[in-house]
Amino acid sequence: MLRREAPSNPVVLMLSLAALACWLWLPLGSIAPNRIVPGTAYSLPEALGWPLTVASCLPLLGLAVVAWRPGRLAYYAALALTLLLLMALPLWLALMAQRHLDPELPQARLGIGAAGWLALFWLSLLLVELRTRLALAGWQLGLWLLPVLGAWWLTAPWLESLALWQEFRGRGEAFVEALVQHLLLVGGAVGTSLLLGAAIALAMRQNPRVERLGFALLNFLQTIPSLALFGLLLAPLAWLSARVEWLAALGVSGIGWAPAFLALLGYSLLPMVRNTFVALSEVDPGVLEAARGMGMSRGQVFRQVRLPLALPVVLEGVRITSVQAIGLTAVAALIGAGGLGTFIFQGLGQAAMDLVLLGALPILAMALAVDALLGALSRRLDHRNGQTTGASP
């Protein structure tokens, strides 16, 4: 059956058993007659009956078998099984909705239970593990995931009663607006901090006093918790906008985008300045010596050598800053800056957990996507920048 004998893989085994345990014992979902009343939880056997339950578990048992005798082919089989499990996830929920949702109650809604979320969690970890074992590149994994997205999209029409979907449908426009606001704040803060950070880093390279002072100040700023900084900016900005007319005309006030933007900018500056500074400073002195020795001018050395060599590290700064800003912008909703955090805090206030999810899930997805994209770009640029070593072949 298998060409190579290999020791069993305890990771895949453990993950699939954990997924199996959660899947069987925890509630798959809950059904509530309306938004306010807490729902009734159904475990998998209760929701779908034993035959379907056993059927839904079969791929997990298959995974356990693969873990017993792994090999390259077996890992591909495991990947296929994991994808199959992921594709089927919404299907079980849809079946549950069809069986247990009372058609008489148009307000009734289906909540995703712990089994659903944890299955997603364990399966994601399985994907990470299998990706490492098979040494798949990011885009290859992306291709493999396409059928999963397709399957979810096909199942969507049967999941109209999903609470998350209902929350979204109720606020379609507000959601888009919040998303745009979120992106604008993040993009604005990161963009500004990139320009400002580069300027500060260049100034620091000219003058060691500026360097010490700048880093001390930015480090200090970074330790102040975001909520505190947002709060502290309220009063001074309110005071300013009350006294300076053109600021008020710009829309600057104690609450809203202005304090959020300033706080985001403050937090973003440290990683940006640090990375730009380090990147510009740590170019191999031999390379610079050679560049000068070949007769390059200062401008040529900066543009053709220093800058391109610094770029991957600067980009790394943009990545860290962006991911951080995406999370901080969510907090900024507390001071009226809008963005997806609005849904989180509204949801928490109304104890409407699906509204919380409506805010939190896109934020999570955004952070992961930005991290993956910028990380890949930085690695791509860095790929050629390995330093020469003195080793003989």
Binding site: I224, A235, L348, A351, A367
Partner: protein, 242 residues
């Protein structure tokens, strides 16, 4: 000796003293707070005195971070031993991916699962605080000079001796940096816990934002800032020693 010791601990001690003065002497600062927001009906946060809030805040962070250190360092040690090495790639990747999760989102996602109150926050902080610790401990243990490891084996040290006397001491600065990040982030995130029903230093800020009372915000914000600075300077002190 004691003089120089005092000098070395000056920064954390100064922040800590300022923190305690502000936390206990609320009434004395009333006039100052009054000035910050002359129109407000009352300027001292009425629900609980600041010292209680501070202690609650610290307690939550201490429990979450303490557990995170034990679990995080333990997990990282386990997966770098021969028996657990199979789990290393998964744990390393999960920890670095988990770092990208925004703390607010983690906290928000914890509520539907764990409910409102203090314990859910502790669990959320614990989970989130684990990531930088695991990541840095792994980096510290994996980044050791193989020559040192080889030499330790060559001298006849056992696996446990190598771990305690060589690997952990050498990796300590990196591990400590991870713990520092974890605790700092947890202090900030715990403040957000006030939005999910925890009573801590975040509470006056939230109350202030909702009621438009700058004085409340100021009390919470200044104390959280000072707490963060105290803890951070403490870690800065510790890491310079190691």
């Amino acid at each position: 000796m004691s003089r120089s010791a005092f000098k070395r601990w000056r920064a954390p001690l100064a922040w800590c003293a300022l923190l305690l003065v502000l936390a206990t002497g609320g009434e004395w600062f009333e006039a100052l707070l009054r000035w910050s927001d002359p129109e407000a009906r009352r300027v001292l946060y009425p629900q609980a005195d600041l010292l209680t809030l501070l202690l609650r805040h610290l307690w939550v962070v201490a429990i979450a971070s303490g557990l995170a250190v034990v679990l995080g360092v333990g997990a990282a040690i386990l997966v770098t031993r021969p028996g657990g090495r199979d789990f290393l790639p998964l744990v390393a990747q999960a920890a670095s991916m988990g770092q990208t999760f925004p703390p607010v989102a983690v906290l928000a996602l914890a509520v539907p699962v764990l409910g409102f109150g203090t314990w859910p926050i502790i669990v959320a902080l614990l989970l989130y605080g684990l990531l930088p610790i695991v990541r840095n401990t792994l980096a510290g243990l994996e980044g050791l000079d193989p020559g040192v490891e080889e030499a330790a084996r060559g001298m006849g040290m056992g696996a446990a001796q190598r771990l305690w006397r060589v690997e952990l001491p050498l990796a300590a600065p990196v591990i400590l940096a991870g713990i520092r990040t974890s605790v700092t982030v947890n202090i900030a995130t715990a403040a957000l816990g006030a939005t999910v029903g925890a009573s801590n230093l975040g509470a006056p800020i939230i109350a202030g934002i909702i009621n438009g009372n700058t004085a409340y915000i100021l009390q919470g914000a200044v104390l959280i800032g000072l707490l963060a600075l105290t803890v951070d300077s403490l870690f800065a002190r510790l890491s310079r020693r190691g």
